[in-house]
Amino acid sequence: MSVDQQNSSTNDMDEKPPVFKSWQGWYLFLIGTLSLFILLFYLFTQAFS
């Protein structure tokens, strides 16, 4: 099996994730949470420095 075939056939294995409509939703949620943490940490650093 070539790598191209592997890549295309892996799409068939994708199951619908819980909570979000697609995995992209999960990835955006993760990036959003990380951004929120960084913002909170920045405010935390500034508040007590």
């Binding site: 892996t10 819980p18 990835y27 993760l30 920045y42 650093t45």
Partner: protein
């Protein structure tokens, strides 16, 4: 340590080992031994991934890191969620589709056998070394605190892990890591609550935050770009991404954790869980260290946190010098405590100029205190050259042993042993799997029975366990244990990651080019590290975390150039 502590410590460890052996008594074929029970849920995968990464070093070193250097180390983990997404999108589906036991099997289907072997060999060397450190790191500290012989402590940790890892394989590792994570998280939360409640009644939680913050211990985020600065926002979201991509995407000790999932979705969710929880978890551990720092602003700390060294130095000719440093250290502590009271008072009053003035006075005294600690270390180094002069890794457990109640001390020691066992078991499991699948089955005995491979997996796991114990017993001392592990990873990981990146995204690059490119890149990374250590790197001066991006880049560029040359050569020859 009293009787209750010993009961808590040994009760916890024996129960976990017994549970692991009992729960996996049915592992009788290679599939279940190497891949697990195939019905593992996402949260078990997530816990297993986190437990594998959270070694005893994490819990011993990290609070000490915050005590001495503040909380900025948390920025190192900003790259982790990004790496989880990349692995979830690109790595995981291919591993699942090919139904691989090890990550390196994929490289043979993409390139050839020698490239697979090279990556597997780099993993065995790197992870074999790290397994020794994973046992040694807590042993050196725990043996000192418990008054045990170092070799005995190495053997206790190693043998406990070997018992259930050899017996039950991947399933035993995954199942025991749930209990170990519960002990680790529970113990650290209890320690965090107790350190805050141990502060004087006059010092509220907000006061403690102001003290830590104004003494530069709550320096969580720094956006200034500086290549030589090891921990800032930019190194976290760039250099560290490469390290985490390598570790979670290509290191078999992690790949084996999420390949044990019931389905691709369960594995992906396990990675998402790790991405969501790791940053706050590290923040909490560092925050505990910052609160321990505040505690020691009101309770005089020793000038050096390893009591055994303090006892040794007073029996030498340097006792008088050391004693004079301790006397001055106590005087500075008393002055500083008064200055801190003044700082808290000014914070309550709210006048910025007065707060700033009080803060400068506190930090001036803290600088003197730090200088005295540094001089004490110099005296130790000169007088006792074979003794570790860095006490960062002793700070947290020194606080635990001297200030927490009975039973809780035992629980915190159980946290450290559990953490050591959880990461070591994943390492031995992965080393055994890679030795069997990528070398024994692929190159030595390809047509043997399933039972033969099961037996060889157990023997390899046992062998790596014994080697790790021996290696742990012969290691010398590192400046900081968590940095030692990250340094070893940063020297080897980028090459393996580079091979995988080429495999996924540069389809025109073939096996010979990537194989030679990887070997050249490994040599160059070794050279760059040597030049940095010797301070002769010039424009290549960089913190070791940047090796991850640089090494990966080298593999891609050199492989691409070699591919062009090889293609050209083929055309000329044709």
């Amino acid at each position: 340590m009293n009787t209750i502590d010993w009961i808590v410590l040994f009760g916890t460890l024996v129960l976990i080992v017994a549970y692991g052996v009992w729960k996996t008594r049915g592992s009788k074929d290679m599939e279940s031994y190497l891949r697990g029970s195939d019905d593992v849920k996402w949260w078990t995968i997530g816990l297993s991934i986190m437990a594998t990464q959270a070694s005893a070093i994490t819990f011993l070193s990290t609070p000490g890191q915050a005590y001495t250097d503040g909380m900025r180390f948390v920025q190192f983990y900003f790259g982790l969620p990004i790496a989880m997404i990349i692995i979830s999108v690109f790595f995981l589906p291919i591993y699942y589709k090919l139904k691989v036991y090890t990550a390196y099997e994929y490289l043979e289907s993409r390139f050839d056998m020698k490239t697979r072997m090279l990556a597997a060999l780099i993993f065995l060397v790197q992870r074999g070394l790290a397994a020794g450190i994973t046992i040694y790191a807590p042993s050196i500290i725990l043996s000192s605190l418990l008054g045990w012989d170092l070799a005995i402590t190495n053997i206790i940790i190693g043998v406990l892990v070997i018992i259930y890892t050899v017996s039950g394989g991947t399933k035993a590792v995954t199942q025991t890591q749930k209990q170990q994570m519960a002990v680790m998280m529970g113990g650290m939360v209890v320690a965090g609550v107790l350190v805050i409640t141990s502060l004087p009644e006059s010092v509220g939680f907000t006061d403690a935050l102001h003290i830590a913050g104004k003494m530069d211990k709550l320096n969580v985020v720094n956006f200034e770009f500086d290549l030589s600065d090891r921990y800032n926002f930019w190194s976290g979201i760039t250099g560290a991404v490469f390290l985490f991509l390598s570790y979670f995407g290509t290191d078999q000790s992690q790949v084996q954790r999420y390949l044990s999932g019931k389905s691709l979705s369960e594995s992906r969710l396990g990675l998402m869980m790790n991405g969501l929880l790791k940053v706050p978890m590290q923040f909490v551990i560092l925050f505990i260290g910052a609160m321990v720092f505040v505690f020691y602003q009101y309770n005089e700390p020793p000038i050096f946190f390893n009591d055994n060294v303090n006892e040794s130095i007073v029996k030498t000719d340097s006792a008088a010098v050391y004693d004079s440093l301790e006397v001055r250290y106590t005087e500075v502590f008393t002055e500083k405590r008064t200055a801190i009271d003044k700082l808290v008072e000014e914070v309550h009053n709210g006048n910025e100029a007065d707060i700033r003035s009080a803060q400068l006075e506190v930090n001036k005294l803290q600088a003197e205190s730090d200088t005295l600690r540094k001089r004490a270390k110099e005296v130790i180094e000169a007088t006792l050259p074979n003794v570790e002069s860095n006490d960062k890794d002793y700070i947290f457990m020194h606080f635990v042993v001297n200030n927490l109640p009975q039973g809780i001390i035992g629980l915190l020691f159980a946290v450290m042993f559990s953490a050591a066992m959880s990461s070591t078991s994943s390492e031995l499991n992965a080393l055994g799997s890679t030795s069997t699948i990528d070398f024994y089955k692929r190159a030595i005995n390809p047509k043997a029975s399933d039972q033969t491979y099961l037996k060889s997996s157990r023997l390899f796991t046992l062998g790596w366990g014994v080697l790790a114990i021996i290696f742990a017993s012969t290691l010398s001392l590192f400046e900081n244990l968590i940095q030692a592990v990250n340094l070893i990873g940063s020297l080897f990981y980028p090459i393996v990651l580079g091979i995988f990146i080429v495999a996924f995204f540069f389809k025109g690059i073939k096996s010979n080019a990537v194989f030679i490119g990887a070997i050249i890149s490994q040599a160059l990374i070794g050279l760059v590290h040597y030049l940095n250590v010797e301070e002769m790197a010039g424009p290549l001066t960089m913190g070791y975390l940047w090796y991850n991006a640089f090494g990966c880049f080298l593999v891609i560029v050199i492989s691409a150039l070699l591919q062009l040359i090889l293609n050209d050569g083929n055309k000329k020859g044709a």
